[in-house]
Amino acid sequence: MGEHGHGPPKGIVRWLTTTNHKDIGTMYLVFSLVMFLVGGLMALVIRSELFQPGLQLVDPAFFNQMTTMHALVMVFGAVMPATVGLANWMIPMQIGAADMALPRMNLFSFWLLAFAFLLLLSTLFIPGGAPAAGWTLYPPLVLQTGQAFPMAIFAIHLMGASSIMGAINVIVTIVNMRAPGMTLLKMPLFSWSWLITAYLLIAVMPVFAGGVTMLLTDYYFHTSFFNAAGGGDPVLFQHVFWFFGHPEVYIMILPAFGIVSEVIATFSRKPIFGYEAMVYAIASIAFLSFIVWAHHMFTVGMPLAGQLFFTLSTMLIAVPTGVKIFNWTATMWRGSISFEPPMLFALAFLFLFTIGGFSGLMLAIAPADFQYHDTYFVVAHFHYVLVPGAVFGIMAAVYYWLPKWTGHMYDMALAKWHFWLSAIFVNVLFFPQHYLGLAGMPRRIPDYALQFTEWNMVSTIGAFGFGLSQLLFVWLIVKCVKGGERATAGVWDYQHGLEWTVPSPAPYHTFEKAPEVR
């Protein structure tokens, strides 16, 4: 395979043996979409139980399995693989390379991920059920997991290995395979954001792997890393987890930053404002993300100096984040703006991610966090940054590049329906959760006191509206793959970037001869 001019082999063999970056990108994206639906179904189980006070549908134990699995599936199965899929498709095309640098490893990391999820999801069907200690896996609670425990840990190891390989591949590709003239500071912002994301992944995934391995030895060999009775400390795990976990949230959002930058520039018909500042802002966010982790742990009883440090360092992240938001706004300023579906999603991102940023800033203030922590206010915060943040960013990317991938234009009217329903319902779903949290509803509970009924009902209605709207997305993609009006090479009427110089659909092999970049 891979010789000049050859197309792919036909049928299933193609997908099992392909080392083509576009095929692998497609597999990642399809995998991610399936996981998005699976994780979404779990969310609907959670929201259905929370529609009314009282337990109507599930046991508390199963409820906890659902919250845990929902989070693991969405983080590691939906958002991260989607961005890896986009990286696979787009980075070689953006930098003028023929493929990813390490194609066989690329394929291996995809199948590792698929196997990891087979393992993780199968825990739902074993006696004792899936892990139920929350995606944060805090001991000692997580050590009460039954047979699912080693399976979940092994699955996490595999996901981590897969992510690290993906990250190495991105770095090696970008460092070595840029077309002549494509200097780093000419590189499109999506590729830039992924380069920095890849370094974050390589830095923190091993730390997480170490942490869960210590859980494993505590479980089987009584090593007592996290057991006070044996001289350990349960809070140590929280430090290790969040040293991984906070950069992890940026691993999910940075690629979306890159996407939104490209989309806003395209549909404002104007180059991005402050390109270099955008690159430096991503880099500073990435750096700061390593020194803020304990803002997730203000209630564990840290010394005063620790609380002050983590409050102040966390607030600092708002500065580069603000720079990005202002630069996006300035990109639209004196532009010539039109509202195609990718732009609609990017604009919703701009507004709603910013709301999540504001609540993040509030959470950063340790004294106030004593009230907010572990309530629905936090749930609202991270869903604003993750759903209309990371997920809308990914959807903007799909609507932006889908014609390039398939060679067909998609159904614009349907895409707009998908957008408006998603944008409205996502707020119906998550905005009331701010109220619930402030009014005192803890997170991760299957049943609640009566005064929380009303806003929970609203939230559940929003959840079903949002969930059902995503079926339009699936339908639209299927329709677009099957056919549609032919897309031109440029697709949109203002383009920037090498991907728009090749025909649509992009040929199986692009840039076997490196393009010239002026």
């Binding site: 139920a132 564990v300 639209m332 800033l361 509030m362 572990d374």
Partner: protein, 281 residues
């Protein structure tokens, strides 16, 4: 719309309305903000929260205003032509880096002050040790021999069983009631020592402002103080996932005027001494 579709819509709307109609008149629609609470700390925290909320609101008005202005003013459909030379502007970019830094410093100062106060447990007049168990709380009035467990009230426990057939609305303080509440004096600085027996729990009564983790093998500290003029019953919940019944280990605190509290404590001490005596005989 076809008739079938319209009927479907109508029954969906009717279903939602019926669900909404079953709610009591004094429903939770107006629960939108953090409670001010009944202690100095909770008010400080509330103030901090409101400062942050207003600062964020003002910033939001400006940034969202600029975004909306751009979207309205510079649309292609209105004939806007892109200014392709607008690539960067050092002064502007410096301004929107420095101004946020100044705002952040403005936010940081009061939060540091408040934090120092919150962490200062000195000068307390009473110490209560709180231990989290799966799934109940244990309270111990240090130095008095008084201690007891506190768990979800029977009627809530019956109603919360899956498909119990009992309407939660018929239960008083559903899920927020216990068999034996913690009793504290008002107008007194109380030091709470928090720990746990099995997994991590967190002790939280929103009206007191604070929440802190109860961690097995370690002892955490915090202080609370209920306003002198606000005796009453205050309710909270465990705030750290602690297993299947995490949602079912409420906290209820009965704040009594100091004299009443002393009477209660003496009576408890006598009872405790009596039962110790009985046990040794």
């Amino acid at each position: 719309m076809s008739i079938a579709k319209r009927m479907l819509m109508r029954s969906a709307v009717a279903g939602v309305l019926a669900a909404l109609a079953t709610m009591p008149a004094h429903a939770g629609w107006d629960l939108l903000n953090m409670p001010k609470g009944v202690s100095e700390l909770s008010r400080e925290i509330y103030d901090m929260h409101m400062i942050m909320l207003w600062i964020c609101t003002v910033i939001a008005v400006f940034t969202f205003g600029a975004m909306i202005w751009a979207m309205v003013r510079f649309r292609k459909s209105k004939g806007a032509v892109a200014d392709g030379k607008m690539l960067h502007n050092a002064r502007l970019e410096a301004a929107w880096t420095i101004v946020p830094v100044l705002i952040l410093i403005g936010m940081a100062i009061p939060s540091v002050e408040k934090l120092i106060k919150i962490e200062d447990t000195s000068g307390s007049e009473l110490t209560i040790k709180v231990t989290g168990y799966q799934w109940q709380w244990h309270y111990e009035y240090l130095g008095t021999g008084v201690s007891f467990f506190s768990r979800l009230a029977r009627d809530s426990d019956a109603a919360r069983q899956k498909r119990s057939g009992i309407d939660p609305r018929s239960v008083e303080h559903y899920l927020l009631n216990v068999d034996k509440p913690l009793v504290v004096p008002t107008g007194t600085k109380i030091r709470m020592l928090l720990t746990a027996n099995d997994v991590i729990h967190a002790w939280w009564v929103p009206d007191f402002g604070m929440k802190r983790d109860a961690i097995p093998g370690f002892i955490n500290e915090m202080w609370i103080s209920v306003d002198e003029d606000k005796p009453g019953t205050y309710r909270g919940q465990c705030a750290e996932l602690c297993g299947a019944d995490h949602g079912f280990m409420p906290i209820v605190v009965d704040a009594k005027p100091p004299a009443e509290f002393r009477a209660w404590l003496e009576q408890q001490m006598a009872a405790a001494a009596g039962s110790r005596l009985a046990a040794t005989e």
